[in-house]
Each structure stands twice: as structure tokens, then as C-alpha cells.
Point group: D2
Chain length 343, copies 4
């Protein structure tokens, strides 16, 4: 078989390891051939194809990013999209099956294509770890590791100045990165989109820590919304009381904590650094196994399914299992983390 790979959505450490695992396993075990579509679904729609011989994927396990490039093009809604166009491009390039490596949007597209008869399987990808149907997605562990390392550093500068440090991490809709990196760094408060926390409670934790002579570390997911926060006003460029617009939730909290508690507070936004560079060993193994299993799935013509990890085993689940909704941080994990706040 001739298999086409594509990477779609935001980039994520481990994408290259998926590509490498798929190509090496597919060529050696089954004698498949491989091509890559460039820049996600856009490459599929445009017929932008490159060959993927074994030599092209050497040494890729440890490389961040994706050699195929990525985009947020939707395979169906975009101009020129739809199952028929894709079927035609596949025929033109002699591609028998697709492996779509992408997040929720991409997998939803893949599901619609599969329903329309396109032979496609999926590899779940989200740095936010917010996909149902799999215990973990690759890239998440690397993001947590990078954030943990940054927070270890922020803590020493905080302690030297007796400051409160606020670290803003990724997570627009779910708090997994904040939860794990915050727990890992021994944060005194972790704020996630799933849980509203009043400013008074947060400032209580901060003050409690400061009074014991320590420097509070607050970890906040970018999508956290404190009780009483008027995001609309913030976006229009002014706070309710006329103070100038603040860049993000991290800056907002920094100003508010300093105003309410009187404790000198500084902000750090970890930003894009969290999604780049060499993956951790955990993510390389997971991504390699996903890539290999996706090729097994294609070989078995398991269209409409994606690979996933349950415990220590790589399994297959229908696309719809990953699309039932965001995998948010459950209440018992929040309670567990919260038991360590403010000490």
C-alpha cells in the first residue's frame, strides 16, 4: 500500500517521531510506501506531496516540530475541500490510505471523510491532553517538563526577593498542563479553566504562604477565568475601573494579587516555548508506538479509527470516542491538587 501522512493543527513535540515510527515500521514490516502531504489538510487539497523514503525519517525521533509542516486548514469546509476532492488527489498520487495526525478538529474532519468512504485512520495529537478516548497524547509530557523546569527557576528568583511569582501556562479550555506542572513544581495555587476561584480565596493562599516567610508560586492556565472577571471589558481595552488593558490572565492576576495583598508580584508567560524542541523520552516512546500502530491499523483496513493509549497498551478506538467532548480535569483531581494549596 501507498500511505499518505499529514500533520494538522498546532505543532507538538513528537509529531516527527510518529512519522518516523510509521515509515520505518511500514516499509520494513509490510513493504508499504509512504508520502507526506505538506501543511496538513492544505497539502491534501492542493496535492502538495513529498516522498518519504526511509532516509528521510532518520534521526527524527528527537526532533521537535514536524518535517511535513502543519496548518489549520479544514479538509471539508475549506475552499476546494470535501471527500470528492480528496479522493481525486489520492487517486492522482496513487495514495491508498491516509494517516491524519491531528487534534479534535482534524479528527472530526477525518471522521466525516471516513463516513464518506475515504480510507483514513487517525493519530490523536494535542499538547493540552484534552482528547477523550486516550489516557495521554504525546507532547503533553514535554510541555509539562518544560513548564516544570521554568517554574523551578522562577521559584529561586521569587525566594531571593520574597516575591509572589505568577506563571501562565498553556491551556485555553482545560487545565492539564497547569495541574501537572503546578503539582510538579510545588505550586501554592493552581488555577484552571474548569474551576472558578474567587480572588479572595487565591489571595488567602498567597498571603498564608508569604506570612510563613516563603515566596508564593501561582500557576495559571491561560483559559482560567476568576470569579468576577469581565473578559468582555478586558478585551475592549479597559477594565471596569478604567485601568489599562492587561495582556492576559497572568498579567491580570499579577496586578490584582499585588493590589489586594500588597505583596510584590511578578509575571512570567511561558508561551510558545512549551510546544517546541526535543520531546521527552516518554513522548518519543508514545509517539513512536502511535506511528507504528497507525500503520498496523491501515494494514488491517481499520478505517474510521484512531490509535490511543490505555494504561500501558496501545489500542484502537473509533473516532467518535475522541469526539464526545473535551477531556477536562475531573473534580477528584482538582480536589487532590487543592489539598496542597496555600501551605
Amino acid at each position: 500500500m501507498r500511505i499518505g501522512l499529514l500533520t494538522s493543527g498546532g505543532d507538538c513535540p513528537g509529531l516527527n517521531a510518529v512519522i518516523r515510527g510509521a515509515v520505518l515500521h511500514g516499509i520494513k514490516t509490510y513493504g508499504h510506501g509512504f508520502v507526506g502531504f505538506r501543511h496538513g489538510w492544505r497539502g491534501v487539497l492542493d496535492g502538495d506531496v513529498i516522498d518519504l523514503p526511509r532516509s528521510r525519517v532518520r534521526g527524527l525521533a528527537r526532533e521537535g516540530g514536524t518535517i511535513l509542516g502543519t496548518s489549520r486548514t479544514n479538509p471539508i469546509e475549506s475552499p476546494g475541500g470535501g471527500a470528492e476532492s480528496i479522493r481525486r488527489v489520492m487517486a492522482e498520487h496513487g495514495v491508498d490510505a491516509l494517516v491524519a495526525i491531528g487534534g479534535e478538529g482534524s479528527l472530526a474532519g477525518a471522521k466525516r471523510l471516513s463516513d464518506a468512504g475515504i480510507p483514513v485512520v487517525g493519530v490523536p495529537k494535542t499538547i493540552d491532553n484534552d482528547l477523550d478516548g486516550t489516557d495521554y497524547t504525546f507532547g503533553f509530557d514535554t510541555a509539562v517538563e518544560i513548564a516544570t523546569d521554568a517554574m523551578d527557576r522562577l521559584r529561586t528568583t521569587g525566594e531571593s526577593h520574597r516575591r509572589c511569582m505568577v506563571a501562565e501556562v498553556m491551556g485555553r479550555h482545560v487545565g492539564w498542563i497547569a495541574l501537572h506542572s503546578g503539582m510538579s513544581a510545588g505550586a501554592h495555587a493552581i488555577l484552571i479553566p474548569e474551576q472558578r476561584v474567587p480572588m479572595e480565596e487565591l489571595c488567602g493562599w498567597v498571603s498564608e504562604v508569604h506570612e510563613r516567610g516563603r515566596s508564593p508560586l501561582v500557576v495559571v492556565a491561560e483559559g482560567f477565568v476568576p470569579e468576577g472577571y469581565d473578559a468582555g471589558l478586558a478585551e475592549r481595552g479597559v477594565e471596569g475601573d478604567g485601568r489599562p488593558r492587561l495582556g492576559g490572565i497572568g498579567e491580570y492576576l499579577t496586578a490584582e494579587i499585588e493590589r489586594i495583598t500588597g505583596i510584590e508580584t511578578r509575571n512570567a508567560i511561558l508561551g510558545h516555548v512549551q510546544r517546541g524542541g526535543a520531546p521527552t523520552g516518554f513522548d518519543r516512546v508514545l509517539a513512536t508506538r502511535f506511528g507504528m500502530a497507525a500503520v498496523d491499523l491501515v494494514t488491517d483496513r481499520g478505517w474510521g479509527q484512531m490509535v490511543a493509549i490505555h494504561g500501558t497498551e496501545v489500542v484502537r478506538v473509533p473516532f467518535e470516542e475522541a469526539l464526545v467532548g473535551l477531556k477536562t480535569v475531573p473534580q477528584h483531581r482538582w480536589d487532590e491538587a487543592k489539598a496542597l494549596f496555600g501551605r
Copy 2:
């Protein structure tokens, strides 16, 4: 309740995070008090006890090693050991329950104590990841990460000189560290105690890689035994053919690969570096959750059980589940890894 903690066996990144998670959660959530026995079961037998107030565990999540010290003392077989001695020491120091953080030997001892009526729960610890009853143990992820980083480095020096590099990692009885770090580093052969591999097959993989212009990387667990290797002779100081004794399996393979293939080959023994230093974020989260869950388990008087991770959830399992035998690398994981050898 007044709870006694102890760490036993080889040290492992994450031990301090377990201690911290247990103490912070136990004090804040339940009002328990904590003491630590020094140097594992030896401290229990000798009554070598230190207080563990909240201030003592601050900042410990990221610290390698164990502030309690450790030893390989057996709680029952050692002079002065046995359930009665331990009951007496506990009474003397007002300790109501024990949390034993240790590997197979320690948990076997804890089981016998529990059977004899001592209130004890367990936290599984093994850098080798060879305990049944739990998907992972803390320390393993850190060891894999350290080994992966070392192999990334070995590969560049190998490529510059067109050498074969042999990296020996920990794993006397099981190959988990070799399997994961080798897969992560893109090794061309991984050798584990669970699988005998003839030297000819290994040299075939090595030569195949070298002929394609690349530098082979061989990862070997210290407990691997090649077919035809006479360990007895090796230990007595001479090989069968009178060549001088070689230090370990890594050195043996290095000499044999060079002799058979004619390819310049170099050896690196990662050694004790693998078990020291700051834990990864993954291990800090796992260890913190284990420490917290162990205190919940004590509070529920769940004697004779240990905490474990199944998928993403921390659960409780009876000691005997972890003691049914070593968790070895299963055949399908070996087959999966082997599909990438020698390319």
C-alpha cells in the same frame, strides 16, 4: 494518627516527593503527625526516628534521593527484626502506622508484617519498573530521560567517527529502561534480559546500519545474556579463550562486535547517574500522588495494601498483587521494538 515513613532499597528519584506529598496532605487534610525512620527498616529496628513537620518537607518535590536515607535491611530476617520488635519500637515512639516506600523485597517484608498484625501500607518503588500491580513506578521515567539524553549525545560522537556505540543501562532482571530509552533514542538494537539474541543476529543489525553509512547504537540492559555467553567463566576472570575478564556485558559486547564485524566500537556505562538527581515532572506528579494516596489509605486503615497507578488513576491493591513475580517486558513489546532494529 501518628504515621511513620521509611524508604528502603536502592534510591530512586521521587522518594522525596512521596514524603512531601504524604506529610503535607496528612497534616492539612487529616491533622496527622509524621515521623521518619532513618535508613529504611534499619531505622525501624533501631528506633532511629526524626520528626517530620511541614517545614521539613518544603521544596522536596524536585530533590533527588531521600532525606530519610535508605538501606537494604530486611525487617524480619535481620538481627533484632520481626513483628514484635517493630511493634515495640512503634509503641515507644507513639507511631500508629507505617508507610513503607520500597521495592519487591521491602513490600514482601511489609506483607509479612501486615499478616502479623502490624498496621502498614506500601508505596511501590523501583527504578526498573518491574513491579506487578502498577502500570508505572516513579523513578523509571527519570531514568529513561537521563539515558535518552546520554544516548542523544553518544549518537553524535558515534556519527563523527563512524563508530558503533554500545550503551549499557540499568536492568538486572528486566529490560524496561533499555526498551524505553532505546526506542526513544532510535537505537538500532536493544538487548534485554528477557530475550536471548545470538551474537550473529546482533552483528547483522550492526553491519546493516554501518553499511548504509550510519553509526549503529546498541542499547543493552546490564542483565542481558547473549546466546553462548558463559557468565561463570566471565566471573572467574577469564573468557573461554583466555582473553582477560571484561567488566560487564557492555564491555563484552563492545569487544565482540568489534572482533566480529571489524567496526570500531566504543562502550559507555551509564551507571549510577541514572538513579540520581531531580525527578522529571512525570515522576514528581506520580510520586506526589502516591504519597497523598498512601495517607488516605492509612486513614482508611487499609492495612496490607499499597497504592498503584492504573491508567491515569491512583488505586489500591493488596501487597500480594505486586509480589506475584517480576513484571517483565512482554513478547509483543519486544516484537514492536524489534521491528525497528537494524534499519
Copy 3:
């Protein structure tokens, strides 16, 4: 002698290594005693003193921050300041000499105290590497290393999306961190306070790189001012054309590059992460040697001098040598770096 140590100004990796080097060497080689003043000159003015026995400095070489705490208190201008107050506090606590570990402001204060007869020597400290009289200051190498690592990560995410990435690093008045981390990461443009660069030239470099199919990396020191940039307007909350205020130079450039070139551009502010955490080996060695040499200097009653590194040798220079002005990036270093821009 009884020697008082203090750390002053912004924190910096290596402060603890200075303290450790001074105390261990001073006790063992000369039999001196040591105390630490807490929170910089504030502790000197307030008599906030802690003992520094050998046991207090163990393991400190690798710890970021400063166990003494720091502040920006000026020893002379602050309320309660001045040579007489300090002389009195020193007498009260039996302190024979001061070692002031600090930046330009602190060394200027130390010079005035020395001129007034206070027995004080200095250890130069600035993460920005902007002090004359010494080739390097500790902390700078660590900051460059952290920034380099972050940029390695930014590059892979940039390449995956074909974006331009803008990384803002520390350096309000000098561009050393930007110069070294940018050169180290292979940046396509480096912007420093010492050199004004028109937006057209910058955008030319960016477009040139993008047209060759690569993702431009722009490194900017926080104090860089592009030609035509009206900082006054920016600070008042609006740009000249009414666009909303932007957070810093990094955000400004990001918006401008995207507007002018049409290339998708993203911003990352490395921020406080650059000054925290474990020092590099280079900085630990430099800081340890500085601490030891400062004690030699005290022992020799070399008041009014500070330690410095010239080539590979630690030397002594009068305070005034470090106070002649900021050590800026010289023209030939700028020309050297610029030769690699935009390729």
C-alpha cells in the same frame, strides 16, 4: 576576622556559590568567621544578621537565588543610611569587614563607604554582563544558556508553521544576553539597545529568510528601540496611530513585522525564567573563585577593591574601574553578529 556578606540588587545564578566559596575558604584557610546580612544593604542598616557556619553553605554551589535574600536598598541614600550607621551596626555585631556582592549601584555605594573608611570589598554581580573592569560576571552564562535552550524550542515550532518568531530577552541598557543567545541559536536578526535598526532593514532580513523557505528568528533585548519608535507615546498607552498600547518591544515588533511583511509572527518573552535556577558549570566556577578571592582580598585588607576575571585569572581592580560606565556591546561585536543576519 569576622566578615559580613551581603547580596544586593536583582538576583542572579551564582550568588550562593559566591557565599559558599567565601565561607568555606575563609574558615578553612584563615580561620575567619562569617555572618550574612539579610536582604542586601537593608540588613546592614537594620542589623538583620544571621550566622554563616560551614554547615549553612553546604550544597549551595548548584542552588539558584541567594540564601541571604536581596533588595535594592541604597546604603547611603536610604533612610538610616550612611557610613556612620553602618560603622555602628558593624561594631555592634563585631563585624570587621564587609563583602558586598552587587551590581553597579551597590558597588558605587560600596565605593562611597570605602572612601569614608568602611572596610569593604566587592564582588561584581550583573546578569546583564554590563560591568566594566571584568571580562564576565556570573549569572550571564546561565542566562544565555536558558535563552538559547528556549530559542532552540521556538525554532522548531516556528518551522512547523512557517512563522516568524520574536524572542524578547533581558537587557534594558546593553545587548550582551541578546547577542550571545541570538548568535548561539542562529538567530536571523539580533536587536540590541546599542544599535538602532530601521524597521525596513529588520523586515528585509525577515522576508529574505522566509522567502528561502525558512522561519525567521528575531532576538530582541528588552531595551532595544527601533528607529522611529516613540516610546513616550507607547508608554502613554497609545501608539501614534491610535492602535492599543503594546506590552513591550517584543510585542511591538511582532505586530509591526506581521503588518509590514505579511508573515505570521509570534512573540515569546523569556522574562524572569532567565535569572533563576541552577547556575551553569561556568558560572559556578566563576562565582566560587570570586567568593574565595574576595576573602583573600579582605585578608589582605584590600579595601575599595573588587574581584574580577581577566582572561582565565581572577584579579583585583579598584571599584572605580567598574564604575566608569556601562560595558556596552562594542561595534566590532555588532558587526560580527550582523554578518550572519538575514541569511
Copy 4:
């Protein structure tokens, strides 16, 4: 001009950054062309040449090893060597000048070629930092950083078991890596080839530390020879008293320390890991500047010279300055380090 680059001797982090700096600067600033000779002087003798266009050196600043490969071939003594052969190969391939990136042996060869009229300049390379004429060579800082990180890890496992840890680092003839990494890690003894230390003195330091409740860390350069050590006997496979041969100085010291002090002692050989992988920022900057300056030197026809760093400036020195002898650790640096032993 058409310039030929070659890398010779043991590999070293930063070689690729030299190549990249030379090629980018040479093409852009002067319009030179570049080729690379593969596997050091062997490629020069065999005419094994590859083109080095700008695209070939992209992204190389952070890559360990050398894309040109390396060997220990001597340009004059090897079969087919000598100035005439090299002149002929250069003419055949239209190469106007050579940039030899190598250590003492390679620079000695380059000097003889230069004396014979071959247009050649040098870039000094040695991970051991043992070349005179330059303050530092690239690769050394990376080796120190890797060793420091490993020792930080060894210390925590040592402390948990109250063991003495012996870390063997590179340095056959000089102790620079041991000196800097040992100082950086806070070692309790550092043993270098330049200084003989009796076993009793070493064991005194070790015992002193152990008695204070700490775990001694001993750092030893592979070329250290203790007083009374009979290397000849050791190499013949037996110690004087018939004990079995031990692998290296690290193993020897480990056995001896344990025998003499009774303290449990463990050994770690850092080995080839020290010379591989991504260079530190310091080494990337130094290597890039060296590569650029070598091209300036060629352009100025400064044959028979090499680039070097003095303080913060890149300078030019005649080959002979680097060949006066090994740059060993001077007495005052040993005394400085020793002042911290055994505390």
C-alpha cells in the same frame, strides 16, 4: 577564493558551529566558496570532497559532532601524505586554502604544511582545553556542563546511601575538566594528572567528610596516577598483591577507598557522553566566532596562524604558540581548588 575545511582528531561539541560560521560569513561577506574534506586529513589525501553551500550548514550551530566526519590521519606521516600530495589534491579540486580544525597533532601537521608553503590556517580544537595560545577551546565548556550535571545526580544517590562516589572524567594528560566540573559540583577531592596525591591524603579527605555525616564525592581525571600506583602491573592484568585487574583509575580508587576507609564506595565513568550532543551557548558562540575569524584570516592570507580567544577577544596567533607544550593546570589553580577539599 575556494576554501577547504576539515575536522580532525577526536570529535568535540562546536565543530559544526565552526563550519557554519565559516561558510555563512565567507559566502556573505567575501563571496568565497567552500568545500569540506571528509574524515579529516584522510579526505585531503584521498580527495574525498563535498560541496558546502549555504543550505548545507543551516541549523548546525546546535548540532554536536561534525558533518564532515573526522579521523586521526596524519597529513604528513600517513601513506600518501606530505605537502606535495596535498598541493596536488588542492589543485585538482580548485581549493585555494585550507582551514584545519583540530588539536595539537593536527596543528603540528598544519604547521609543517604551512612551512612547506601550503596556504593553511588553523582553528584549535580540544575538549581537554590543553592547548596553549588560547584561553579556551570550544567543547570544553560543554564537557564541564555534562560532567557537572552527572555529578549533581551522583551526589543525591550518594547521600541517600551514605556512600562515597567516585566520578571518572576525561583528561588523559591534563586535569581541566576534572578541575572545573569538580569545583562546580562541590567535590570533596579532585584528582588530576598534574598532581600526585598519596592515597592516605585522599582517604583522609573522604573520611573527614563521611564523619561529618555527608557523602564524599571524588572526581578523578582518567590520567591521574596516585603515588605508589604501578600502572605497568595494572596493565598486565594483576595488581602487585594479585588482586584482579581493574578497568581504570576510577575503579582502582573505588576499590582502594573502600578497602582503606571501610566506607561503601561506588564508581561512575562518564566516558564518551562528555563529548557528544548539543554544545552549550558558550561553546556555540566561541565556535561560531572562531569559524568566522578563520575566514577573515584566510582572506588576509595569514597562513601559519590560528585563531584563539584572549579574554573576550578573538585574536590570531602563530601555530607554534599553541605547540609549545600542553597547557596544564597551574599550581595556583590546584591550590585554589584544594582549599575546598575534605570539608
